[in-house]
Amino acid sequence: MKKISSLFFATLMIIPHGFSFCGFYVAKADTKIFNKTSEVIYVRNGDRSTITMSNDFQGDVKDFAMVVPVPTVLKKKDIKVMDRALFKKLDEYSGPRLVEYYDRNPCQSHYLYKMDDMVMNLSSVECISVNESRSLRKNKVKIEARYEVGVYDILILSAKESEGLKDWLTENGYKIPDGAEEVLNPYIKDNMKFFVAKVNLERQGTLTADKELKPLQITFESPKFMLPIRLGMANSDGSQDMMIYFLTQNGRVETANYRTAKIPTDKEIPTFVRNEFGKFYKNTFDNAYELEGSDAVMLEYAWDVSSNTAVKCDPCVGPPPLYVDFIQAGVDWFKNLNQDQPRFDGSGGDYGSAFFTRLHVRYDRENFPQDLLFVETPNKENFQGRYIMNNPASGVFDCEEGQAYLKSLFERRNRELSELYSMASWSSDRHNEYLNSAPLSAEINKAFRQSDKRGEIPVLGFPTFPKGLSGLLKMLLSGVGLFALGYITFRIQKISARKPVLEHL
């Protein structure tokens, strides 16, 4: 990774003016590429958690309600209504990126360089629907606190038993999905409280013109570094996606009770993916997730965003988060910056260290029986999902280097198709068209194929040796190797004819 980024830097030095460092933004896949996606910003410092939950609720706001188990009774100052813009910013900043390069024609002196980035935008919806009513009866349920925050009416409930809580919620017009009761019970027994939010329609009418529901942010102190996902599974068959943006002080966040795996990155892909990058990434993610056994949490981005980090993304698809964004998200360990001071823009302002981790969780009941537990590690290694598109050079390739370039282009295109097939399972009739597109042609390719002693290069990329099988083979080979090593040791001992000495170490 480091190698590639320094290479990228070197390339940037010689690009003509007019192409900004952080690349420019050509298109975004604004569609919901992943169904049922929720987004969470999780800021963790010591025992302090600040969780911002986005609810891109599609139905009528009067049907909206959210029930979240929390470890403590929250105070009013610990509940805030946030702007959606922060999610958009963090999503764009950390999303998988498509970078574009232009080849140089070796037969011409000048060349073009351009870089495009695309970003994927994710939207979210994951709430429990309820109907509102105003029953005030109690059912072994205690209202620990009641707040009005923005357009929301917030209740913090504690309960003695799940039956009571379920009845109370039902009587008060919250529609509890089947199966939720069993899940409520462990939370109640674990002394968790329930954060219940719904929209106050009267205030919503006076406060906001738009119907969009704003994200809620809660802060609490607890050694538990976790996200409860089981409640959300009660009414859902199939899998749900959740994007978690972590901001921590020291390093990468990983899951403690699930495997954290990386998405494929730094792969060269054909140029025709340009307009379907969203679909490409979705397929790539689906495949990678399945390959990891459908029970791993996927790492999509990890970057050191401390104030003294010069390169906050490479390349940037969205602007890196600023001081104000961190503060908004709930970061509390920064040195105070004077309000009059201009926003940090990379040129000044030393506020401290921060690390950004983006985890993509696709969870279902079968593979994710436990809530997500996290640990912060001191791992500051950067990671991003980056896919590379190489545009061919144009012009006349009448010199020797030109011919060599065409041949390497032919081979690269084959390789790219191979990658596309193994990553996103894309194989289509466009492949031949792509191989034969300018500056190559069917005739040129035929010549290359004939000159190639290895025989015909497959048009369709062969999937690489099935992962499980190749791993098994490697393990077998390694086993044989270990035996061989053992045998060598045995021979040496035999030759040296020294009797083994006993000891206790």
């Binding site: 990983e254 954290t260 001191p378 000891e503």
Partner: protein, 289 residues
């Protein structure tokens, strides 16, 4: 003629392999590492593995030569090295080397009545994680997978039957998993698969079958061993649930290791020796008494 020779050679090689339980351990731990790198897509940081192994083996050779002891304990050093490769994560090579050095040096420097006190890999993990700020233990790196569980169990069974420390594993698991079972299934009423998910964590199994079972740093007497391992389990459970410290077993072991001599004092038993055929004069003395 030739075939006879080969048969003899294979026979002798087989005997050699079976003679020492450490051979099994080296074999399985290596397989686990290869499995992790190839099947679980760990970052194969070959440099880290080399740094750890070189530091372990180098330190072992150094101390062995200094104390004029046999070099056969390189096998033990290799086991510590493999354990560290499997558990210790770091981006800094020097931390890997430090871990290897601490592991082996502790065997020679922190001793009580001729036995080293701390499990070498365990001590190195704790030192590096808590003091360098550049190392961590990736608890979730194995994920949870049924096939993997059987793989672990089968491998562990072979080694432990040979070493005779299956009681330590079972004692620890009984206490740790038992308490968790009471907490999550009986009290909190989570479903059974929630509990099984907890139990099939690869890091936990690796700890239970390959780390805590180190015959040198566990009490000699079977009864003492079982009590001691039960205590490790209890401490680990308390750390996990009260402090939300998910790497609790390795911390529990470091807390309990200094108590091993105490257990040895109360219940005396035959001291473990890696080679099975002969007993040392020392252990003969103990078994007579």
């Amino acid at each position: 003629m030739g075939i006879k020779n080969i048969t003899l050679e294979v026979q002798q090689f087989g005997q050699y392999l079976l003679k020492d339980a450490r051979h099994f351990q080296i074999f399985y731990l290596s397989l686990f590492l290869i499995y992790g790198v190839h099947f679980l897509n760990w970052d194969a940081e070959i440099n880290r593995y080399i740094a750890i192994t070189a530091a372990c083996v180098g330190t072992q050779i150094g101390f062995s030569l200094y104390h004029k002891k046999s070099l056969s304990s390189i096998k033990s050093a290799l086991i510590s090295a493999l354990g560290l490769c499997l558990l210790l994560k770091t981006n800094a090579l020097w931390v890997g080397a430090l871990a290897g050095f601490v592991a082996i040096a502790s065997k020679f420097l922190i001793r009580y009545k001729g036995k080293h006190v701390f499990n070498p890999a365990n001590l190195a993990l704790i030192v590096c994680v808590s003091l360098t700020g550049e190392a961590w233990v990736s608890i979730g790196q194995w994920g949870t997978n049924t096939v993997q569980v059987y793989f672990f169990l089968a491998a562990a069974l072979l080694v432990l039957l040979k070493v005779g420390r299956i009681d330590t594993s079972l004692g620890f698991l009984l206490a740790f998993a038992g308490l968790e079972f009471i907490r999550s299934v009986l009290y909190l009423e989570w479903e059974m698969d929630n509990f099984m998910h907890y139990l099939s964590n690869g890091t936990l199994l690796l700890f239970a079958f390959f780390m805590i079972t180190d015959p040198i740093t566990t009490p000699n007497h079977p009864r003492a061993r079982i009590l001691w391992s039960l205590l490790v389990g209890v401490v680990a459970f308390i750390l996990t649930r009260w402090l939300q410290l998910y790497s609790a077993p390795i911390w529990a072991l470091i807390v309990m290791s200094p108590l091993t001599p105490v257990f040895d004092k109360i219940w005396s038993g035959e001291r473990f020796s890696w080679s099975v055929e002969k007993t040392t004069p020392n252990s003969l003395k103990i078994s007579k008494s």
